[in-house]
Assembly symmetry: C2
Homo-oligomer: 275 residues x 2
Amino acid sequence: MSDLIASWVDGVPLKSVPVDDRGLQYGDGVFETILVRSGTARFLEAHMARLRRGLAVLGISFTDEAALRADVVEALRIAPSLAILKIIVTRGSRTVRGYAPRGEGAARRIAMLWETEAPAGVDQGVTVHVPAMRVSDSPRLAGIKHLNRLENVMAAAESLGGSAFETLLLDRREEVVSGAASNLFAVRGTNLLTPRLDRAGVAGIVRGVVLREAPRLGFAVTEQTLTLGDLIGADAVFLTNARIGVVPVRHVGEHPIRMSEIVMTLRTRIETLDA
Amino acid sequence: MSDLIASWVDGVPLKSVPVDDRGLQYGDGVFETILVRSGTARFLEAHMARLRRGLAVLGISFTDEAALRADVVEALRIAPSLAILKIIVTRGSRTVRGYAPRGEGAARRIAMLWETEAPAGVDQGVTVHVPAMRVSDSPRLAGIKHLNRLENVMAAAESLGGSAFETLLLDRREEVVSGAASNLFAVRGTNLLTPRLDRAGVAGIVRGVVLREAPRLGFAVTEQTLTLGDLIGADAVFLTNARIGVVPVRHVGEHPIRMSEIVMTLRTRIETLDA
C-alpha cells in the first residue's frame, strides 16, 4: 500500500526507473517537493529556481525544463485538491561505471504525485524532537536539495514511536540547522531569526517566502547562529516547509516554548499565497 | 550504450526499480562492488560482512541474505572471466512519504553485473589528482558503503579531462581520507600507514585484506593521520580497491612519489587471493 498516485519518468507514465540511474547508484541528483492545492503547484517558480541552482552546483546539464513543466501540467490535471508533487532530476543512467560523471546520457526527470493531508491540529503548536544525531558540514552541498539524505533519515528515525511532529537537525557545534524536513525560525520581539544555511541544511521554499514577506508585515529577518538555548528563550519558534506552510512549535524536546501571535499572522499570510 | 550485462531486482531479471524506492529517494541503502574473476566472487564473505555492518548502522532489516547469495550464484553463471558484480540493498519502497523509515515494506536487493577490464599499465604507477573539494566529517556513516556518494562524484568530477587514475579525498583538516573510489596507504620503511576511517571514507575490502596479509609478509600496519606531506615524503604510496587490487602511485598531483618493491610484493600476494 503506497500513497503514490502516479509517476512519470521523462514524461512517460512509468512506475520504475532504470537500475543504472545515478540517482539510485550515488544520490546524484536533486529534488523538489511541491504542494499542489486546488489545481495549483504552489511557489512553482521558486521550486524551479532552486532546482536549477542545485543542478548547477552538481554540474548536471538539464535542458528539459519545458518538458518538466509539461509533466507538472499533466500531474495537476489528475491531482486531488491537495497533493504533493515530487520532482527528481538525476544525472541519468551511467554508460560507464564509476563515480566520475563521464559518458552518461541525458539527465533524467521523474515526477511523482503523492497523496497528502493538511497537517491536523498544528495551530496549537507541535513538538520537535532533539536527536542524538549531529549533521555534517558540507559547504559545497549546503542549501541545495540533493538526493543524499541519509542524515535526514537517521535523524528522523530517532523520533519514531514518539509524538514529535519533527526532528531537529543540529551540527557538531551544537548550532541549529533546521528540522529534518523543515526550516526553523525563532521570534525575538519583532525579529525573525533563522540559521544561515552555508554549511548544512536545505534552503526551503517557504523559508524564502517568509524572508520575503516578513518585512511587508513589519518584521525584521536575520540569518544568524541559533542554539538550543536561543530556541528555548525565544518568544516563539516556528517551522516552515512546502507541505505544512508555517507551523508553531510548542515544545523542543522537554522544553516548553512560548507561543506568539506573530507566528499565526505569518501562517495566515503565507496560506493566502501561491507564488 | 551501457556496459551493464544483466541485473536482478529481488532475484527477478529486471532492468528497473520502483520509482518510490528509498535508495533513489534518499540514498537510503548500502552497496558492494565485487570483482568476479574466473567464476569466483572475490572476497565475498568480507563483502557480505560489510554489507551487514552497513545495514545495521542504517537500521535496515534485511532477512534475505540467502536469496542474495543465490543472486550471486546466478550472476556468476553468466559472468565473463572478469566482471564487476555490484550489489545494492535499499530500505525498499516507501509506503508513507517522508524521511522517517515508517511503514516501508521489505528491504530491496539489486544485483548488477557490469563489464570491466583489468587496469592497464598500472604497474608503473598511477597519478592521483588533488582536488579542491574537501569531504565532510560524518562519523555515524564513516566506514560503511552507503548510497550517499555525491562527495565522491564531485571529487572525481574534478579530475575529468586529465590523465589522473584516481582523485584524492581530503578532509577539512587537510588530512587524507582515501581515494574517491579506493583506499590509500603510505609506505615508510617496512611500515604501512593508512588513514583511520572513523570520520569519513569507506573501509575497503582490499584495504582489509592488506591489513590482514601485511604482517604475514613482515610489514607492520598502522592506522594513523596522513597529510599530503606524508604522502610526498613516503617511500611509496599505493591504492587499493576490489577492481584494481593494489596499485602503486607515481604522482600525487605534480609531486613525484618514490616507488618501492614492497608495493609489488603486496600486489602480487593479493592477486593470488580470493578470500
